[in-house]
Structures are given as structure tokens and as C-alpha cells.
Symmetry: C2
Subunit: 202 residues, 2 copies
DNA sequence: ACCGGAAGCAAGTACCCACTTGCTTTCTTT
DNA sequence: AAAGAAAGCAAGTGGGTACTTGCTTCCGGT
């Protein structure tokens, strides 16, 4: 593998664990199995190495898609929530670190935001499509519901491990439950269950 | 004021800005208007100073109360959300920092969690009281809704400043909107509006 | 007037960090 | 085989950081 990429990957690992100040050039070089001098020859300085890392993270952020023409809201949204949650969980240490250091290193924080931001926009588009196709009766406060769903996914990914009991159990079932709650809030009737009790007919 | 408290307050300010590694004893001492040596004479080491800071934060965390006998859910919950949001917003830098450093300093992260945890429990109690008093028809997924409301308050407090557009505007109206969405989700019928137009203009 | 404790001050120690320099090794290309 | 580029290695520089030491100053109680 290119030495440049090896250093970048090592930097990502070290940064996720120790943050900006804790990511010493020595640590990164060791983690990459590379001489410290090579790091400086390749990137010039610690600052520009981590800047490259941030830029790379923002560029590589591929957010899962939601269908342009909704068919089965509950299933589609559950799957999407699961993907987004997986993405956020995978990067949670990196995200935690970079968002907490935004006062000192705004560039890194901004690039960390692009992923979640894109996801939020995709969700907003999907809800618009839902109403346009007559699948939702937007009686509630759609914008707020979107914020709340995104915040839930974000919070789950970032803080489940340090706040046991604050999130739905088991973790695997959480995305579907978030999706259902959200759909209720934006006025999408729950899909008929194929089994016996079809919830409360009320 | 006691010199000990002056140092602790300075440490809180510096820590919220710079995190653990960035909180140099020199910086804290300057901020407190105290000689650096005095800091070591008082606390022994940087580690135990910041441990005392964390302990103090956990002890001083006073979470707003929710009435034991609910009367006007929408108003009570809106007010409560506003208080919690204010509390979280006030401490957001401290919370961001300590939660992002939990791998290296778990003690600080734990103490940062006590506030939000207590709030979540208070909310759960309140919802139980709501159903017991016949004010809510718990048709939805109450636990998930509680998680989502807490995550929304948390996310709003922590990330509104760095993710513009991801949270309800204006900021002042957000807590009430979170509360309304939540009440809808747990099956509390919206309170009758005294004025004509109830919904927000699209 | 005197004593003791709390705080300030200046200096020093040992270590860590970003970054540089000068040189050697290794590998590829011609 | 010769040449050049890329990487390693050892050492060093200047500055920061946690923490210590030895001393002076200030202030309240007896």
C-alpha cells in the first residue's frame, strides 16, 4: 500500500483514540510502521497531516441512499436507519473527538459534520416524497421529527456505550424502533402486520 | 473566595476549552490568578485536581423536577425540556470534552453522564405517572420515545452551534416542539389551542 | 512582639513534542 | 553496472509540561 495511505490510516486510528493533542507524530509513525521522519517528508507537518485526514474523511463519507419513490416506508426507513447507525457507530470515536475539538480545530469538526448533514438532507427529501405520494398525512411537526430522528441515531451511535440503559435494547432492534416512532410522528399509518394481532385498531 | 474553589472554577473553564491534555497546570493557575505551585500544594497533582473537578460536577448536577402528579402535560413537559436544554447547553463544552475523552479518562466521562441519566429517569417516571392518571394512552413505544426525546435535547445542546439547519428554528421554540412531538408519540392528545391557527406555517 | 501557616516567587529537573539535519540503505530504472 | 529516488536511522534543537525545592513575604492569633 502507498505509504501515504498507511500513514493516513494510522493517523485515523490514533486520532480516534487520543484526539488532536494526543496524536503525537511518534505515535502515528509507530502505528503506521514508518519512520517518523518519513511522516514529515510526506506531509510537511502534523497540522497538514491531520488536515489531510479530515479532508479525506469528508470526501469518503458515503451516506446510505433512500429511494426516490417510496414504496414501503417502514421497511425502507428501518433499513436506512440501520445503515446510518452503522456508519455513525463505526466512526463514533473519530466523530466524538473532532466535534469536541471544534473550538481549537474547526476544520476537522466541519468535515466530521458532512456525513450527518447529508443524512439529514436525504431524510428530509424522503419525507417530502412520502407526502407527495400520499403515504403520509403531515399532521405533526415534520421538521422537528426529522431533527429528533437524526439526534436519536447520532446519540445512539455516540453514547450508547457510556450510558447503558439510556437507549432501546437490544441494540439491533433500535433502528427499527426509531423508524417506527418517527413514522408515527409524521402521520404515516403503521404497516399492517401479517400476523394475528394487528396492533390496536382504536 | 476559598483558593481551592477558585482553582476548581478556573480548571472547569480551561478544561471546557482545551480538554484534559490542553489543561496545563500553568494555564489553570493563571486563569485562577494563583501561583502554579499553590495549585500543586492544594491538589497534589494535575490528575487529582481534575478528578476533584469531575466529582464536583457530578455532585452539583441538579436536574429540573417534573411534577409527581401531572396536570398539564404539554406545559409541564415544555418547561422541563427548556430547563434541561438550558442545563445541557450551559455545560456543553465540558460535556463534549469529557465524553470524548472517556477512553483515556473514564472517571470524568462517568461523572458527566450523571446529569443526563437523572433527567432520563425523571422523564420515565413522569410518563408512568401520565399513564397511571389516564392522561396518556400508551399505544406507541414509550421507551423508545423517551430515548429519542433525551437524545434530541442532548443533540440540540451539544451540536446546534456546529450544525446549523439540523435543529428546529428558532432555538427558543425548540423545547416546546420536542415536547409536543414526544407527547404525540406516547399518545397524549394535543391540548386545545385557544387561538385560531394551530399548526406552524409550512 | 512573635510565631506559624498560607501564599508567592525563581529556579531547576526530567521528560515529551514537533521538527531538522546529515548520512546510509534499499530498490527501481535505465 | 550506474544513477536517482525513496525510505531508514541517529542525533540534535528549541520549546513545553508536570512537578520539586528553597526561599521570601504576608497576615492573623496569642
Amino acid at each position: 500500500m502507498e505509504i501515504r495511505d498507511r500513514i493516513l490510516e494510522a493517523a485515523a486510528r490514533v486520532y480516534a483514540l487520543h484526539g488532536y493533542r494526543g496524536s503525537t507524530t511518534r505515535l502515528i509513525a509507530n502505528e503506521a510502521g514508518v519512520n517518523e521522519v518519513t511522516l514529515f517528508r510526506t506531509f510537511g507537518s502534523k497540522d497538514s497531516l491531520l488536515e489531510a485526514l479530515a479532508r479525506g474523511h469528508a470526501d469518503a463519507a458515503e451516506v446510505p441512499e433512500l429511494p426516490a419513490i417510496p414504496k414501503h416506508p417502514e421497511r425502507e426507513l428501518s433499513d436506512w436507519c440501520r445503515s446510518v447507525l452503522a456508519y455513525l457507530t463505526q466512526h463514533r470515536s473519530f466523530l466524538r473527538k473532532s466535534m469536541s475539538e471544534m473550538e481549537e480545530h474547526p476544520v476537522v469538526a466541519e468535515s466530521a459534520c458532512t456525513g450527518p448533514n447529508c443524512a439529514g438532507q436525504a431524510l428530509a427529501r424522503y419525507v417530502r416524497a412520502l407526502t407527495e405520494h400520499g403515504l403520509a398525512r403531515p399532521e405533526g411537526d415534520t421538521d422537528t421529527a426529522i431533527s429528533m430522528l437524526m439526534a436519536s441515531l447520532f446519540g445512539d451511535a455516540m453514547y450508547r456505550d457510556m450510558m447503558p440503559g439510556a437507549f432501546p435494547e437490544p441494540a439491533g432492534a433500535a433502528p427499527a424502533r426509531y423508524a417506527c416512532c418517527f413514522l408515527r410522528a409524521v402521520g404515516v399509518p403503521p404497516a399492517p402486520r401479517r400476523r394475528k394481532s394487528t396492533a390496536s385498531p382504536a
